[in-house]
């Protein structure tokens, strides 16, 4: 079942401006983990902002979780279904105590007290932050703050989680913590849309959508998308280092596969290469 159906979306920030989205069509199925790549200004964040009605398209149609998104939509209902997490954790933390921060949206929604406690506990458990429930938010690390921000969204029990560069400000451990949490939700059936500049994060998704100048340039599973290294480089993006090495080996005539993304895949190929099991064309 599709949870996001975008058809020919066109969007301009002001009437006389160039469109930021130029006829974008995209369908996302329930339970998919989709990464969105694109250079700064490619329209990927703008696309994300359409998903919960922060931006409303000038042309085209958008249906999210069965709700038609336009000027007349019930945005409050839409935003309960589509949770958004942004780049800067400090801008998303409101309360001074962790559990109060996670409860913030629920209080606004008027969720009954007992139910609220249950949901906050569950959400903290989900992001592995239960033992910090009573801690001061300002003392947390970036990765912990970002997981609290995610817990606050989760407590609203959204159908879709949209994250706009959630790891841009985090150290390697914080990044790994956030990705681990996303994988867990994905296994439990949540639909995830992750906007990122990190190729290794995109490589972990089921599917990658590459945006360029307001259009969808590539759309497919990571092994397919990263085989188009030349195209990605030409639009200011990159490929994981393992993939890049395969392209360099090919240029030297080694008959290595190009569909290599992960460390383990790369190790297997290089193991074969070093053992003389991979041929080489004399160029």
């Amino acid at each position: 079942m599709s949870v996001i159906e975008a058809k020919n979306l066109v969007f301009r920030y002001s009437e006389d401006a160039e469109p930021v989205l130029k006829h974008v069509s995209l369908t996302v199925e329930r339970g998919e983990f989709v990464a969105v790549l694109g250079h700064n200004g490619s329209g990927k964040s703008t696309l994300a902002k359409h998903l919960n009605g922060i931006c409303i398209a000038d042309e085209g149609t958008l249906k999210v979780c069965g709700i038609e998104v336009d000027e007349s939509s019930d945005l409050a209902a839409l935003r309960r279904k589509v949770g958004m997490v942004f780049q800067n954790p400090d801008n998303q933390i409101i309360a001074s105590v962790v559990e109060e921060d996670v409860a913030f949206a629920l209080e606004n929604l008027g969720v009954p007290h007992d139910e609220m406690h249950r949901r906050v506990a569950e959400a903290l458990e989900a992001v592995d932050m239960s033992r910090y429930a009573k801690h001061a938010t300002y003392k947390l690390s970036g990765g912990q703050k970002q997981r609290i921000a995610i817990a606050g969204i989760l407590a609203m029990r959204p159908d879709i989680l949209v994250l706009d560069e959630p790891t841009a400000m985090l150290d390697p451990k914080g990044r790994a913590e956030v990705m681990e949490v996303l994988h867990k939700f994905h296994r439990e059936g949540m639909t995830i849309v992750l906007i990122t500049h990190f190729m290794d994060e995109a490589a972990q998704a089921d599917r990658i959508v590459v945006m360029n100048d307001g259009e969808v340039l590539l759309d497919g599973e990571p092994h397919y998308v990263f085989q188009n290294a030349g195209l990605l480089w030409s639009v200011g993006l990159n490929v994981p280092q393992s993939t890049e090495l395969m392209f360099l080996l090919r240029e030297e005539g080694y008959k290595v596969p190009l569909a290599v993304l992960t460390e383990e895949e790369c190790i297997a190929v290089l193991d074969d290469l070093l053992a003389g099991r991979i041929g080489r064309e004399v160029l």
Binding site: D171, P172, L245
Partner: protein, 288 residues
């Protein structure tokens, strides 16, 4: 050997002394940095990186210990710390939030003007700053607030470069930029470093960027300087770095794993380019 430009001796920074919240952010750190080198600084959040770099340009006075710029203690009574801050330029995280002037040109000119330079010299410095950060001349009269995020970041960096610092410290200069924008800004900084024979200190969470540019790397953990060595030597200690919440570039991890699985003759590599050169030399014998 180049000359020492910055020397830190037993630097200590304690916050909240005498309160229940007392915390040692930097704990007895000593090192020497030379002219014309590119230093990488890595460490997880709260490891003391920001505290350390703010002490290096005299923004923050160490609780104890001494900092020497070109052999002079920067905290003696008569030392001119105003000039020091032009000599040791510090680009904060998300520096675009600090832009405030009406035009790009005025914003970049702010630092040089504060240095008391002539109008002629200021104009020259602005031009230089724009050149080093790859800003087109057409942007000169624009409001910095009309620019894209990447361009704003360049304007902010240009404003520091226009002071021609001998030491340039950058805290996460590429956070939130796309891969091409990251590469361009880092290459610009590299060019400045080479042309001016300056010392660059790059603080980053991107192990790939550090591996690509730094010749030496400092590793901070819990306020302590755990490692300070050549980039290759630091990233060869992958397991220790991972235990500290850090990492090594993906290609470095691949080679370290292969080494552990019986390919003992593999060296430690820092980039795909280095990896291919090494593989080529190991298997190159059968080339016709």
């Amino acid at each position: 050997m180049s000359d020492v430009i910055l020397r830190a001796e037993h630097l200590v920074q304690v916050y909240g002394t005498g309160t229940p919240f007392e915390k040692t952010a930097v704990n007895d750190i000593s090192f020497e940095l030379y002219e014309n080198e590119f230093i990488g600084v890595i460490g997880h959040t709260g490891s003391g990186k920001s505290t350390l770099i703010q002490m290096l340009n005299g923004l923050m006075k160490p609780t104890s210990g001494t900092i020497y710029f070109r052999g002079e203690d920067i905290w003696t009574k008569k030392y001119d710390r105003r000039t020091l801050r032009a000599n040791v330029g510090l680009v904060f995280q998300y520096p675009e939030y600090q832009l405030f002037e009406e035009t790009v040109e005025k914003d970049i000119a702010f630092g040089p003007r504060n240095m008391g330079l002539s109008e002629e010299e200021i104009a020259l410095r602005v031009e230089e700053g724009m050149k080093f950060t790859g800003l087109s001349d057409k942007l000169r009269e624009k409001s910095p607030f009309e620019l894209s995020g990447g361009q704003k970041r360049r304007v902010a960096i240009a404003g520091i470069l226009a002071m021609r610092p001998k030491v340039l410290i950058l805290d996460e200069p590429t956070a939130g930029l796309d891969p091409k924008g990251c590469a361009e800004i880092l290459n610009n900084i590299r060019e400045y470093q080479r042309e001016e024979k300056a010392t660059v200190i790059l603080v980053s969470h991107s192990m790939e960027d550090i591996a690509a540019h730094a010749s030496r790397v400092m590793v901070l953990e819990g306020g302590n300087l755990r490692m300070f060595d050549s980039t290759a030597a630091v990233f060869a200690r992958g397991e220790e770095l991972i235990r500290m919440g850090l990492n090594v570039p993906q290609i470095t991890r691949v080679f370290l794993t292969l080494k552990g699985r019986g390919h003992e003759n593999l060296p430690s590599v820092l980039s795909p380019g280095e990896a291919i050169r090494c593989l080529d030399s190991l298997t190159g014998g059968d080339r016709g």
